[in-house]
């Protein structure tokens, strides 16, 4: 495999007789913001789950930050941050207690100062002692980002990070993603349905259709390859209409 941040080689995943992911081969260069698009049930979350070692591939392989997801899962886990869709956190614990727990599980010792630094980066100070049960959806998403970057991972996985957010929450999240990428050099792999955010955030995109990668290119080249289409949305629907036909 290459020196990419993420590289998959014929990665496949079956659930019984259902093939959720079919020979996925892609590379995401270090420092990219990669957006994975696709219809519901296309295999986006399965892809993320395999790359974050939560699921084992049925066949094929993948490397994340130079570690094989099958042979060196622990190495992968040390190198990544992950925010799943709709995570709730521990309502009875304060923000600091929640983050301290995840930081320590990631191997950080005495992480309190690091936690405060991260909260400052995310413009989320002053709530250390508040219980998470009082947080809104948008605030929980920021907590989610915080826990994912505490240990300064080189690769960040975000599964539908804008799900359920209001427009202000979406904009804040976008700015955070851009900042993590530009200031800290994090490679970001993001599943999303929000095509407008993809055009504002991502440097490259992939489109999954029924478990198969039907398109993978930089955003600029994608837009250039479809000169007749005005937006990414129209390009996406054209590719989808090829699926239907």
């Amino acid at each position: 495999m290459t020196n990419s941040a993420i590289a998959t080689d014929n990665l496949s995943k079956s659930y019984g007789s259902t093939l959720a992911l079919d020979a996925l081969s892609l590379e995401v260069a270090a420092g990219e913001v990669f957006g994975l698009l696709g219809h519901n049930g296309a295999g986006k979350t399965t892809t993320v789950n395999v790359l974050t070692t939560l699921l084992e591939p049925t066949y094929g392989n993948a490397e994340v930050a130079g570690h094989s997801v099958t042979a060196d899962a622990m190495g992968v886990r040390r190198s990544i941050g992950y925010l799943p869709e709709n995570v709730q956190f521990y309502d009875n614990l304060t923000l600091m207690e929640n983050l301290r727990f995840f930081a320590e599980l990631s191997g950080l010792r005495r992480p309190d100062q690091r936690i405060r630094d991260v909260l400052r980066i995310l413009d989320f100070e002053g709530r250390d002692r508040q219980r998470l049960g009082t947080f809104s959806k948008g605030m929980r998403q920021r907590v989610g980002i915080a826990q994912a970057i505490l240990h300064a991972p080189s690769v960040l996985f975000l599964d539908e990070p804008t799900s359920g957010l209001d427009p202000e929450g979406v904009r804040t999240l976008r700015e955070t993603i851009v900042r993590l990428n530009s200031e800290f050099g994090m490679t970001i792999f993001m599943n999303t349905h929000l095509l407008s955010e993809v055009t504002k955030t991502c440097t490259s995109i992939g489109i999954l259709r029924g478990g198969t990668l039907v398109h993978h290119n930089t955003l600029a080249k994608t837009l250039a390859d479809f000169p007749g289409e005005d937006s990414l949305e129209e390009i996406y629907f054209q590719l989808e209409s090829e699926r239907v036909s």
């Binding site: 886990r77 709730q88 956190f89 521990y90 614990l93 995840f102 599980l105």
Partner: protein, 299 residues
């Protein structure tokens, strides 16, 4: 800080914060303490009954409670450990493993460099510390009450017995906490996770002893272990159901430790059975596969 210690500390913190755990802990501590008082009041009354019976010339049998140990007043605590303690431990165990599934934090945990046995053992250790603290507090207060009733602090021998009873209670409660953890990991619904261990507890506490001794369910709520019916069927069946009736084994061992005059024999076999159950349950829980820990929770 390693996964085991982090998980243990996290578990203790969550239990401390959970209001439901507080309700159960207060009820348990309160009832164990109350049981000492109830035991003393009842003993005074029964002694009065015996004296009246002798005075009326109705019996020449010796007083069955002559020379009874001050630990006799702890006998009701045996039942409260069995009833309230076991069910409390089940609830704590279920909450420990259901929490991550409900809050969807299990993926946050498992996407970190965490070995699942260390994670689960750590959670168990946290619960075990909580249970030890609860038992320690309630039995310490009970010791004070026994000493007051006795008119003097309990001697080293009796104190040692109280400690031994506390340790045995901890073994039983930790085992039931493990049962709760197991169903919390494997059930598809939160209600099922809570209810299945209750049903298992009912089977162990009532059905098994009944099959082997013909004891009725309500009589099994008595701290005195059930008198075995003898003869053909019962002799054969009780050989199988006896060791599996963990609650009866606990009652028997506790009664011997607390020097209840109604129970004789050695406590060793009962203690070994309880320890074996604890070890087996620990192994069963700790080998839970990662994908099982990630399975979704419905309601």
């Amino acid at each position: 800080m390693n996964t085991f210690l982090v998980s243990a500390r996290h578990e203790m913190l969550n239990t401390r914060r959970a209001r439901t755990a507080h309700i159960l802990l207060i009820v348990f501590i309160g009832m164990v303490i109350a049981s000492s008082v109830i035991g003393w009041v009842t003993n005074q009354t029964v002694t009065g009954v015996y004296n009246k019976v002798v005075a009326d010339g109705l019996t020449t049998a010796p007083n069955p409670f002559a020379g009874v140990s001050p630990l006799y007043y702890a006998r009701n605590a045996v039942i409260y450990v069995l009833l309230i303690g076991s069910l409390m431990a089940i609830v704590l165990g279920v909450q420990a493993t259901v929490r991550d599934r409900k809050a969807s934090t299990v993926d946050l945990v498992l996407s970190r460099p965490v070995a699942t046995p260390a994670r689960l053992l750590g959670q168990l250790a946290g619960l075990a510390v909580v249970l030890a603290a609860v038992i320690g507090i309630s039995f310490s207060v009970s010791w004070l009450i026994f000493s007051i009733i006795n008119g003097a602090p309990l001697g080293w021998g009796d104190t040692g017995r109280v400690i031994a009873f506390g340790l045995l209670s901890w073994v039983l409660l930790t085992s039931f906490a493990l049962l709760g953890m197991l169903t919390g990991l494997r059930s598809k619904q939160q209600t099922t996770a809570l209810l299945v261990p209750f049903v298992i507890w009912s089977a162990v506490a009532f059905v098994l002893p009944q099959i082997g001794t013909a004891a009725r369910p309500v009589s099994l709520l008595n701290p005195v272990p059930a008198l075995a019916s003898t003869g053909g069927y019962f002799d054969v069946v009780s050989a199988f159901t006896g060791p599996l009736s963990l609650t009866e084994q606990f009652k028997r061992a506790s009664s011997i430790i607390l020097q209840d005059p109604n129970v004789t024999g050695e406590a060793t076999s009962s203690i070994l059975i309880l320890l074996a159950f604890l070890v087996i349950m620990t192994v069963v829980v700790v080998v839970t596969p990662r994908n099982r820990m990630r399975s979704g929770l419905n309601e």
